[in-house]
Symmetry: C2
Subunit: 185 residues, 2 copies
């Protein structure tokens, strides 16, 4: 296999192993076996199971993040929710993110790594959306971007990852309108 | 030990084991050892690890649920958020609920049981709050209680269980105001 093909085979194997057995029970041996490569091929690229998973999850999270600039707070929030709804329906999010949060609850170093891989990017995007809304006069000066992220991401995460019920038609539109009302309210 | 003391010892042991090793790695043997009782004492009360945990988590969730009747939508939502913020800061919620969700993502029967133990009660309380707000004319006819639960529970869960940052002062007041604006918006 070419070097890039090995990397791609490992990447695919990691997601399959994560979905099948979860982070806690996953091993570098199992990943290598599934990818059809030697353990050293994995260790040459990543120093541990955690760094491997965080690297892949971080890459996935960064890929999926839009930088909407629709010209309105509603448009930006709606675009962000649309992408987030798709991402949270992906196996990586609906199985792997809860897995990582379980580990994060017990290990502060995992919590820091998950935060860096998953949350910092989202916080950056929402902070920009809020800043531009403030500049347009849609939100008051001093609007808190962390609270904005809670109001935008929270309901969708709750519905798709905690309650796990499919979104009814028009849900993303309704939620965008509600989130904008909440931000202004 | 009296029969009630044995039950209480098992209950305490379960929460300690869950916090220490998590649901996936927890065993009836480990629980019995920590409680200082025989395995049969556990099996006489619960038929499996899952039924044991769901029973205790369900009891905890039901205990904590207020049935606020403050006379206003804002008051009811604020009272619910206050109790939810305390519950989500408790080890049962911040460690055990994410654990159970990981299992739920892989096993539909666990998903159903978690839903019955944790979500049905919350949905009932929020449905009543919405119904009374509609009767008072604070919300339009046909306001969707499931969407209301997403808007009320989601941001708090996101902040306390996913992002895991402490609530700044006044957060619950602000969130109650935002949630009411979102429900009306």
């Amino acid at each position: 296999m070419l070097r890039e093909d090995v990397t791609e085979a490992i990447r695919t194997a990691v997601f399959e192993e994560l979905a099948a057995v979860g982070f806690a029970r996953m091993s570098i041996e199992g990943i290598a076996r599934r990818a059809g490569v030697g353990k050293t091929a994995v260790y040459r690229r990543w120093k541990s199971k955690l760094s491997l998973v965080l690297d892949l999850v971080g890459a996935f999270a960064a890929q999926g993040l839009p930088a909407p600039a629709t010209g309105s707070l509603y448009g930006d929030v709606r675009a962000l929710l649309e992408v987030a709804a798709q991402a949270l329906s992906h196996p990586v999010a609906s199985r792997v993110v809860p897995d990582l949060l379980v580990e994060a609850a017990r290990h502060p170093e995992i919590a820091d790594a998950v935060k860096a891989a998953l949350l910092d990017g989202q916080q950056g995007v929402v902070a920009r959306i809020v800043r531009e809304a403030v500049a347009r006069g849609e939100l008051p000066e001093g609007a808190d971007p962390d609270r904005a992220l809670d109001l935008v991401a929270g309901p969708l995460y709750w519905r798709l990852v905690v309650v796990r019920t499919p979104l009814p038609p028009g849900y993303v539109d309704d939620l965008a309108r509600s989130a904008v009302a909440a931000l202004k309210g």
